[in-house]
Structures are given as C-alpha cells and as structure tokens.
Amino acid sequence: MSSFDPFEEIPAASPGDLLSPQTQADLPVGSAGESLGVIVRGSLSKGLDLKLDPGVSLETLRAGMFAVAGGEMFDFFSLVTDLELTATNPEAVDAPPPAPGSLLRQVLAGDSLYTRAMLRPHLMVNRAEPDAKKALLPVKTIPGHFTVVRRATPEDVNRVFGSEEQSPYHFHIGEPLEMDEIPVCLNLEAFAERSNGIFGKSGTGKTFLTRLMLCGLVHKNAGVNLIFDMHGEYGWRGTDEGRPGGSTKGLRELYPDRVQVFTLDPRPTVKYDREIRIPYSFLEPEDILSLQKVIGLTSTSAENSYLLQRRFGRHWFARTLDMDTKEVAEEEDAHQGAMQALRRKLGRLQKECSGFLWPDERVVEDAIPLVLRNLEQGIHTVIDFGRYSQLIHYILVANILTRRIDEQWREKSEQHFSDPDRHPRPPRLVITIEEAHKFLEPGIAEQTIFGRIARELRKYNVTLLVVDQRPSQIQKEVLSQLGTKFCCLLDDESDVEAVLAGTSGSGGLRSVLASLDTRQQALVFGHALPMPVVVKTRSYDEQFWKTVGYLPPEERSARAREDRKRLWD
C-alpha cells in the first residue's frame, strides 16, 4: 500500500448543523442561552428569518420572547414576532408520513420540514464597547447569513434593561417571557419625563399595572403623583378578587406619610384625609366643553358658555342657572334655543354634582390649594370619587383641578427659568387619569387641559399617565406624544393600530400583542426602555409591598420606639 494520506474525517452532522459556525453548548433544551438556529434571510425593514435547529422544540418558543443574534461585531437583541411551519418540499406536507417517530418523519423533521421564527431586532449591542450605556445602539444594520441565534440569558436582560442595583431610578416591573426570576427594569426617571399610557381591554390588569407604576414612582422618588381615582382603586384600599376579602392595599396604606387621600364623597366607612368642595366660580367654559358629550350639548350651546362668562364674569355658572334666556339671547344676539339648552344642561350638571359642587358661599375650606400645596411638597395625592364615579363627576373634577395645577406649574416653571437660583423648579408631577379617551378624544383634546398637558407640558414638569381601554378613541396627536406605553391584551384592531402607530417594527409587535395572555402580561415599549419587551408583570402582593418600602403597622411602631429610644439615650 502506498502512503496514501487519509482524508480528514468529515464531522458527522446534519446539514443544518454544518451551517452553524459555533458549537452548541451542552445546555438543556429550553434553557436561556441555548442555540436556537441560524439566520437564513432577512432585511432591515422586515426583520430576520431564523431557521430553527432540528433539536429545538418549537413549543418552547413564544411570540414576544427574547433572542440574541450574535453577529460579528454586535449582538442583535430581538423579539420573536411570529412562528411558522414550513417545508422545502410541499409534497411532504401533502402526503404526511405515517406514525410519529417513523423513520421518514425523523428524516424530514428539521430539514425538509422545519420551523421559521421571525425576529425583529430592536437593539444592537457593541461587544467592543466597555461602557454599557454607549454600547446600546439603535438597529441600523442586520447580522449576516447563518448568524447563530440563541435564547437570551439573564446577563443579556441585565445588560439591556439594567438593574435596580445599578441605578436609583431603575424599577423592576416584571420578568420576560419564559425567563422567570429575571427582572426587567424600567427607568422611572425617563418614564416620568414624558406622558405615558397603560392600555388594555377590561380585565387585563391595567389597574394592577398602574398601582405597580405608581408605587415605583413613590418608592423611587421619581415624581409626585396626582391620581384621579375614579373607582376607588388607589387610595386606602383597592380591589383584588384573588385575595381574601377581595381587597388589597392602596397607596395610602403602603406609604402613610407620603400619600394623602382627598375625597369628594366623605362617608363613615371609608378613610380619607380631606374633603373636596368645589365652588361654582371654579367652573369655566372649558369644563363645559369637555363635558359636552356626557351631558348631551351641541357644540353651539357649549360655546355659548364663553359668551355667558364674558357677560357674567367668574360667577357665570351660578348666574346662568337663574338667567332669563330670552333676554340674554336677545341682548347677546345668540340663539335662544341653544341658550335654553345650555341652561337646562348646566342645571342637570349642578344637580348631579350637588354633593361636591357648591355655591361659593357654602364652601368653607377650599381644598384645591391644599392639593396643590401637597403636590408642591412632594406629597402624593389621590382624589377619591366615592359614589360620584360617573363620568360627569370625574371629567368635571379632573378638569378643574388639573387646570389649576397647569396654571401654577407654568407660573412656577417660568419663574424658575427666569431666575433658577431664587425659584426652585416645581417637582415633576405625574397626573393619572382613567377612561382617558373621554378627555382626549378628537374634538375634545384640543380644548381641554389634558390635551395640552400631553402635547406641551413636559417642559413644565407635568406629564400624564393615561389609563384606558380604547386607545383608538384618543386623539392621534396625543397618542403620538406618549413616551412609554404598556399594552395589555387588546382585541379591537383599531385599538391595536392606534397603540402601535408610529412605532418601529409595529408589524411584528402586532402579532406579539395579539398573543398576550389575558392577565398579568404586557408589551412595554417606548422612551423608558431600550427596546420593546413582553413582561409577566410583578404580582401586587406582600413580597412586592416589602420591596417598595412598606412596613406593617406593628413593625413601624417598633421602629419608631427604637428611634425614640436612640434619640434620648
């Protein structure tokens, strides 16, 4: 025999394996970091196509989960947006092989019949950049053919979303899909900088999510909250069907020294700190305009309120209730029918709000300046509506209060801008409103204070936290101004469309949004996060309360005793 050199042994591997430039680590199926497959095609505009390795169980993948494509220079952090069963040979699908486990099935699986996962890269991480913040870049390119894609690891999540230990404003909001116990953090400082939205159809956990975010804002001192609590969910107690007694702790109970509850409906069974009584003279035509749909006014009638304010001054509301419509209409050259309709509707408003909307002479203590003082001092304030939880009450009070805040914050901010040394900037204020579309729908949003806040009050340190189940009813311009959006499950196509309008890669996010669980899951994206993420939101329970600084009363008393002792010893 000649010295024939043996041919190098070709590794025994499947064609799919031969494409993989990296060796798979010995990781259990479904674990973080496990290789999922390779990129086979893609584009910057449409996202990437991942061909799944034959050994990866399709059922361990979820729409919305994280995957990392390890390119030559960058790690591309992506979301799985869709999954598809596909075949290189359509005949194999038309004539399915016999029993599961048969030789033919094994032969076809993973190659002739395989699974594609569609990925949407949302963030590039420069591996050569030591500064974690500078390393995060917007996606401007895509990884090449056969780039290996793996499941994200806890380190990846940490690298992208930061951790509570790294920054005083990072707040743990939940865990990514299929990655329990790995916290996703949101930057509350960035969150409070802009108006934000929490959306989802009824029963998807909007209220819990809102409580979570409010607790975060209080705990991390990222802003001061004014909460219009329409359904009594945020003050002393809130509802939680999953807990014994069906109730849970409100902000006042969690932070007794930092939160106050003002009520429109003082009643012996519910705790509160102050009552709110609103004098007639606080009402302005703008309030009537925002209520025109609720009380059934035509726009002509509603606009007559400006005319009446000009005629009667700040007491226009009280005077209108008693005016002779014929005489006023003649003198003001207005339509008498419209004037009559306005008086009738204002009469209804006065009647329905008679519990808290009082003639000026009856109001002994004006609570609104107290609310404003609270907010200026950083005391979070919950406005409890009690039994006055109809839209008419809610919109009226929210409008009146917010307008006053707007005036004050504008004034103080202007003073600060002109002389920063003498006038401190007013604290960052976050106003939480539910059923927000009633304030922000097209035609109304331009005329109400809430539309103005969403559009332009960021520079005066006032932002909104909009909670709503019908985002499609909110004016587009307002929606586009929302910095960070939490989207729980939404069914209506127009709502999905509205929430994702203007978002990069919205096509992929649409399928992610549609696949959310009905509870405790939300797609979060926008200004306060480096990339969109689907989170299983944290549970609002004892463990959470403990992490956000709650002390049970007995522990609080014991600490106070210890502090007293230390002070005098």
Binding site: M1, E9, S102, G110, S112
Partner: protein, 212 residues
C-alpha cells in the same frame, strides 16, 4: 486470518463505473452491496453493485430453452458453464486505502483485471461516514433508484449497526430527491419495515462453481 474471497475481476472501467466478471458463475455480490477493487496503485476503489447479469460468453450466441426437468440439464449438458458468465456493474462511490476512505470520484479509473472483493465493514463505515456516497447513486440512468437506495442504505446501516446514520443520510437524500418525494417516501418506508430474510438472487448450482 483468511484472505477475503475474490468476487471477480474488472473487465471494463471508467471514472464512474466498473464492470466485473465473476470468477464463479452465479456468484455475484448482492445488488446494492459495497465492493472494493484493489488497484496496483495502492488506492482501492469502492463501488455499489447496480446490476448483475448472467449470459453467454460469446455475445453472438443466443441462449435457448432446453425444455429439461430440473437436474436433467446439469447431467445432460455439463459443458454449459463454460459457455456462460456472470457479470455485474458497480457505480464508483469512493476510494481509499487502509488509512481511510472518502466518498468521491477517483483521479483515474481502475485498471482492468484488478480483483474485486466485498468491502469490509470498516471500509463501508469509512465511505458512508458522510452522506456524499448517495449522490452518485441517484445519478445512474435506468437504475431502479428506489431499490438501489434501499439496498445500499440497508448495507450501510448494517455496517454501522445503528439508525443514527440512517437519519443523517436520509436528510441529505431528501435534498437530493427534492423533486422526487415519492422515491424518498418509498425508500424510507421500506427501510422502516423489519428486514425479512429474502432468498438469494439465484443460488449457484454446486457443479457450476468453476468457470472452466
């Protein structure tokens, strides 16, 4: 260790195929089995049997029916084996030596009159370590493709002793036969069934053993 039995010698060759005449009438290797042609260069060529035939040595002769009962033919016409020969063709699927084998076309065709043997188990494993040996088998015109693949894969499977390789070969074959799913389906349905002990293609008669 006894020398392996010679199956025959090469009577025709080119880069893709070998034609071998058996040293014993009716003693051809099984269709689809792996054979080795030992060449003087020291590099053996390996092939898969694609066709076996027996006919007259003289191409101008026509074989006729003798209408004799079984056993009578051998007694009354003992000269018959000297007029007949068994040949088979093999598709070259690789080459190699004691140190290793590769599934590829050799640089030069095998020389005529080289002896041919059944490939050893280790040699079959070396040749079939990668699925490249299947490609030439799918390119033979007029061959019963499904039967050939079943036989060759069965032979290779027996050499490895497991089905692990079979799946790997199957995945490669699925790509080669992407326009012929019916054949792929047939091959793997048949390979998936238990192997039955089939009778030999034709049992050689005792006294027909020598060609002359």
């Amino acid at each position: 260790m006894s020398e392996p039995a010679v199956l025959g010698e090469i009577v025709g060759s080119d880069s893709q195929g070998l034609e071998i005449e058996c040293h014993r009438l009716y003693c051809a290797p099984a269709f689809g089995s792996f054979i080795r042609a030992d060449c003087p260069s020291g590099i053996s060529q390996f092939g898969v049997v694609t066709c076996v035939r027996t006919g007259p040595v003289d191409g101008n002769r026509i074989v006729q029916a003798h209408r004799m009962a079984p056993g009578e033919l051998e007694q009354r016409k003992p000269h018959l084996p000297s007029l007949l020969r068994t040949t088979f063709t093999a598709r070259v699927v690789g080459y190699g030596n004691d140190h290793g084998q590769v599934a590829a076309t050799p640089a030069h065709p095998a020389r005529l009159h080289c002896f041919v043997y059944a490939a050893a188990t280790a040699e079959i494993r070396g040749l079939t370590a990668t699925p490249g040996f299947l490609r030439p088998l799918t390119q033979i015109p007029d061959a019963p493709l499904e039967d050939l693949l079943v036989a060759a894969l069965q032979a290779a499977r027996e050499a490895w002793g497991t089905d692990e390789k079979l799946i790997q070969w199957g995945k490669y074959l699925a790509r080669l036969l992407h326009r012929d799913y019916v054949t792929l389906e047939g091959v793997f349905q048949r390979l998936g069934q238990p192997v039955s002990s089939q009778p030999g293609w034709e049992a050689p008669a005792a006294f027909f053993g020598q060609t002359s």
